[in-house]
């Protein structure tokens, strides 16, 4: 039973690391601010959830697992809100998407 939980937590933590690196690569290579927002949200949701779930499996039913759940809930609710505020502030300041010239419906 312990080996099963260990293997599951390894897989979850490694998947979280892979997803966070994918988000970082997208953050560097995407061409436009709005596409970079999309890439960064991969790190903010999937990477966080996978890594914290893996750590929680290692911790078992203890206070540590409760703290991990608090951190996961905090990031899971506030990070999309911050991303939304960021995109809305950028649009309000007049930063236009890359394809706005060809597709006028994307303009504000």
């Amino acid at each position: 039973m312990s080996a099963v939980i260990d293997t599951a937590s390894w897989i979850l933590i490694l998947a979280g690391g892979v997803f966070s690196i994918v988000g970082g690569i997208g953050l560097v290579r995407m061409p436009d601010f709005y596409t970079r927002v999309h890439a960064a949200s991969v790190t903010d949701t999937l990477g966080v959830v996978f890594i914290l779930l893996g750590l929680g499996l290692q911790a078992g039913w203890t206070l540590v697992a409760a703290k991990l759940a608090v951190i996961a809930l905090l990031i899971f609710f506030t990070s999309p809100a911050a991303t939304h505020a960021l995109a809305k502030a950028a649009l309000g300041r007049g930063l236009e998407p890359l394809l706005a010239e060809e597709n006028p419906s994307l303009k504000r």
Partner: protein
Amino acid sequence: MFAAAVIALLVTLVLALARAIAGPTVFDRLLATNTCGTVAVLLLSTIGFLTGRPDFLDLAIVYGLLNVVGTIAVLKFFRYGSLGE
């Protein structure tokens, strides 16, 4: 295993810092800073497990709260030009 996660998070941190340095607009830099904050929370939790001291989780909670408040404050400044009355 924890060391692999720490290395992956450090790579992500370097990539986000590259975007924060290179970013053409201020919003790119803010996005990269937000990602840096999230990665720092994860890094604190993972290092706590790596060194066998889960007390680091309290620091991670505080850092997550500070990250959110900082991002919202800077965004409000850039949206309205001031932090309010």
